[in-house]
């Protein structure tokens, strides 16, 4: 299913190399709010048995669509878009999970956005399935997905303006 220009990859290492080309090296990912050791480089191979995914890539918010196109060209499918509210680090994190229908590769793309102005470009042009995931993340966290066709609440009532999963949410 890969389109003409990018070669069909046979292992995750080739995929990791493509991501290294995409992401300039000096953007070191900030440590997540937990006491977990900060990842050494933006593209990191993880031990599947311990973490549940093979490749962990930290990208800038505007490179999200580029990463999605690379994965789409290699036949990956979108698993989930997860929002996380690191209130201690005053940042919000958006995690994109990808799985591959043919073999057992699991790739995770992460981005961090400031909590005050959480904006991430939408990938619903590449993956139509992301349309609903992004609407849900928007209504629960308030992360605005730029260019999303219809960013109205999906699970909450239509006129809901509160974001329940934020850490500072009061019912």
């Amino acid at each position: 299913m890969a389109n003409g220009d990018t070669p069909v990859i046979h292992s995750l290492q080739e995929l990791a190399d493509q991501f290294n080309k995409l992401i300039p090296h000096e953007t070191l990912p900030a440590a997540s709010g937990t006491t977990e050791p900060a990842p050494t480089s933006p593209v990191q191979m993880e031990d599947y048995a311990a973490k549940g995914y093979h490749l962990n890539v930290c990208v800038q918010p505007d490179q999200v669509v580029g990463a999605a196109e690379i994965l789409d060209s290699h036949g990956f499918a979108l698993d989930a878009v997860t929002g996380m509210d690191w209130i201690a680090a005053n940042e919000m994190e958006v995690v994109y999970d990808y799985f591959h229908p043919m073999n057992s590769w699991r790739v995770v793309i992460r981005t961090r956005v400031p909590r005050g102005k959480p904006e991430v470009p939408t990938i619903s042009k590449v993956y139509p399935g992301a349309d609903w995931h992004e609407r849900e993340t928007h209504e629960f966290f308030g992360i605005v997905f730029l260019g999303h066709p219809n960013l109205t609440p999906l699970l909450l009532p239509e006129d809901a303006d509160y974001h329940p999963l934020r850490k500072d949410f009061v019912a």
Binding site: L156, P157, Y162, P164, F169, V170, A171
Partner: protein, 169 residues
């Protein structure tokens, strides 16, 4: 309808006097048509009650009518969400007079497992929307409990209990 429905004892051996509304209550009790209104896990137990093993068609209650106009009893089986509340209220209003409501499962009685400080989406109990006749606790209640609920509703209507209640030893 006075709560005590006892006709005069001495005549009942010879002729059975049935006041009209007593007769109506008897017929209404024996043909309760539930509204297919399954919300969540309790709906599967309601379907199991309608199935062959716990058959509620013995009481003439297996005619699950989809349209609120035809139904007599609304079995609220599942969690009432704030987004769903206006729809439930409209359904209740569309149902026609002599109608009854059975709140099946903890979610319908009091919000069940989804009540915690800072909850923003669940209506804590159907009786906040409209009056409820029979509460069936359980999460989800067993099909026998639903049948017991229907018997309890019939007892409320006719004043007489169909089967002897089993008192736990």
């Amino acid at each position: 309808m006075e709560p005590e429905k006892v006709c005069s004892q001495d005549l009942s051996q010879i002729i059975k006097f049935a006041k009209l509304d007593e007769l109506l209550d008897l017929s209404r009790a024996n043909s309760l048509w539930p509204l297919t209104f399954g919300l969540a896990c309790c709906a599967i137990e309601m379907m199991a009650a309608g199935a062959s093993r716990f058959d509620i068609s013995r009481f003439g209650a297996e005619v699950f009518r989809p349209s609120p106009r035809h139904a007599d009893v609304m079995i609220v089986a599942g969690t009432i969400n704030k987004k769903m509340a206006p729809a439930v209220k409209t359904l209740y209003d569309q149902m026609l007079e002599p109608k009854w409501v059975i709140a099946m499962g903890n979610c319908a009685i009091s919000g069940g497992p989804y009540v915690f400080p800072g909850q923003y989406a669940v209506i804590e109990g159907v009786d906040k929307l409209f009056p409820v006749d029979v509460f069936i606790p359980g999460c989800p209640p067993r099909p026998e409990a639903l049948i017991e609920g229907i018997l309890k509703l019939e007892e409320k209507l006719t004043g007489k209990r169909r089967w002897p209640t089993v008192t736990p030893q």
